[in-house]
Every structure is written in C-alpha cells, then in structure tokens.
C-alpha cells in the first residue's frame, strides 16, 4: 500500500463520538427511575442527577451552583405506553 492510499484511507476513518455517552447510557438503563421525574427537567452529570424541577432556568442555575460548568438537561415526558407513536411536533 503506497502513501497516497494510506492517506486516503485515514481521511475516511469514522470516529464514534463518546460525548455524553455516560449520560445517554444512564438514561437508557434507568427509565424506571426517570418515571419519578415526569413533567420535569433533569440535569444529569455522568450517572448523577444534580438538579431537577419544572423550571429549566432554575434547574440550570442550581446545577451551576453545584459546580457544573455546562449543565446537560432534558425533559421527562409523561410515559404514554406502547400504543403511541411520536412525531416531531
């Protein structure tokens, strides 16, 4: 394999993003816990819920006070069951 081929192959490498993987995995494996936070915003840092509540601005402020520089937040919907399909809007 010549140098040109090696360069071309390297250029086409795909990197699997690891950003917020811990939080994503925690959400996937803790749906039972998250049911208790329905209709609330949750701030998750790693595997720890650092703040939660109905008002996202307060949740973010609380997380910043606890030392979280960039709070990662998501809204927990009311569970709707299996016979429901979601669309964007």
């Amino acid at each position: 394999m010549g140098p040109k081929t090696a360069t071309a192959r390297k250029r086409h490498e795909t990197t699997v993003s690891q950003h917020r993987r811990r939080e994503m995995e925690w959400i996937r494996t803790h749906t039972d816990v998250l049911r208790g936070y329905a209709r609330e915003w949750v701030c998750l840092e790693g595997e720890q819920i650092v703040a939660h509540g109905r008002d996202v601005a307060r949740v973010v402020t609380s997380a910043r006070r606890k030392g979280v520089k960039v709070p990662y937040v998501f809204y927990v919907e009311e569970p709707r069951g299996e016979d429901v399909a979601y669309m964007g809007l």
């Binding site: 250029r11 086409h12 490498e13 795909t14 990197t15 699997v16 993003s17 950003h19 917020r20 993987r21 939080e23 994503m24 959400i27 996937r28 749906t31 998250l34 936070y37 949750v42 008002d55 996202v56 601005a57 949740v59 973010v60 402020t61 960039v70 709070p71 990662y72 937040v73 998501f74 809204y75 927990v76 919907e77 569970p79 709707r80 979601y86 669309m87 964007g88 809007l89």
Partner: protein, 139 residues
C-alpha cells in the same frame, strides 16, 4: 452516484421512556453572553423546516424570549405552535460551532428538534436498523 465519507458516528440515544431516537447532545450558547450556556438533548428531525426548542431554555441562556421575531410552526395535522426566533450558537466537541436562528416555543416542548436548517450546515446519514447516525460537519 455520490458517496459521502462520514467523519463521525453517533449511536442513537434513548428518550426517558426508553425509546431510541437520533439524539445529538448539543450546547446552546447566547452569542452575547457566551458564559451562559446549556447543553440539551436535541432530536434530529428531517421533517422539521426550522429547529424548534423549548422556549424556557432562553431564560437559562439569559435571553428575553418574546424579543425574538414571532414565527408559527405547523404540524402535519394542522396544530400550530407559536415561537420566537433567536440567533444562538450551537456547538458539539466533535463537530464544531454553528450559528443558527432557532425557534423557541411559547409552550412546553417534550423534545427539542434540530431540523433541516441544521441539516443545511452538515451532512447527516441514518442507519435506522442499526440505531446509528452519521454526521460530517460540512454541507
């Protein structure tokens, strides 16, 4: 036939209810106060014209929601959501920074949607069966 060599792969994220979705965790920044940023789970939605996020996120960013230009979002069923446009920076450590005029809703949204205005800045590919999507940070 065009071939796209994607630079980044993203496993689908899961909603709090446990359903897989193409979720991209992105950081929203107020361009006038970059210190006030927040990171949110954004759902990629090619059926959405323009990105739409929950309006109360503007409070976390130190922005005044109703100061933005009013815009209405309509679903396929005709249900409308009033929103206000605000220019924000969005960033992701793997993809870089983008300027985007995002609609911020006047009502609570369960999911923040990254629409075709974002897709206009990057290239996105889905492998739904494998629950992964791909992004290259250039149009």
């Amino acid at each position: 036939m065009p071939t796209v060599a994607y630079t980044h792969e993203f496993p689908y994220g899961y909603s709090p209810e446990g359903r897989p979705f193409p979720i991209l965790p992105i950081r929203l920044l107020n361009p006038r106060d970059l210190a006030r940023s927040v990171e949110v789970a954004a759902y990629l939605d090619s059926g959405t014209d323009r990105s739409l996020f929950d309006g109360t996120l503007t409070h976390a960013l130190g922005m005044d929601l109703p100061r933005g230009k009013r815009i209405a979002f309509f679903s396929t069923g005709g249900i409308g959501i009033d929103a206000f446009l605000h220019r924000v920076k969005i960033s992701h450590p793997d993809l870089g920074e983008f300027d985007l005029d995002i609609g911020f809703s006047s009502v609570t949204l369960a999911r923040n949607l990254l629409g075709r205005d974002f897709f206009n800045l990057v290239q996105v590919g889905f492998r739904e069966h494998h629950l992964v999507f791909y992004v290259t940070p250039e149009p």
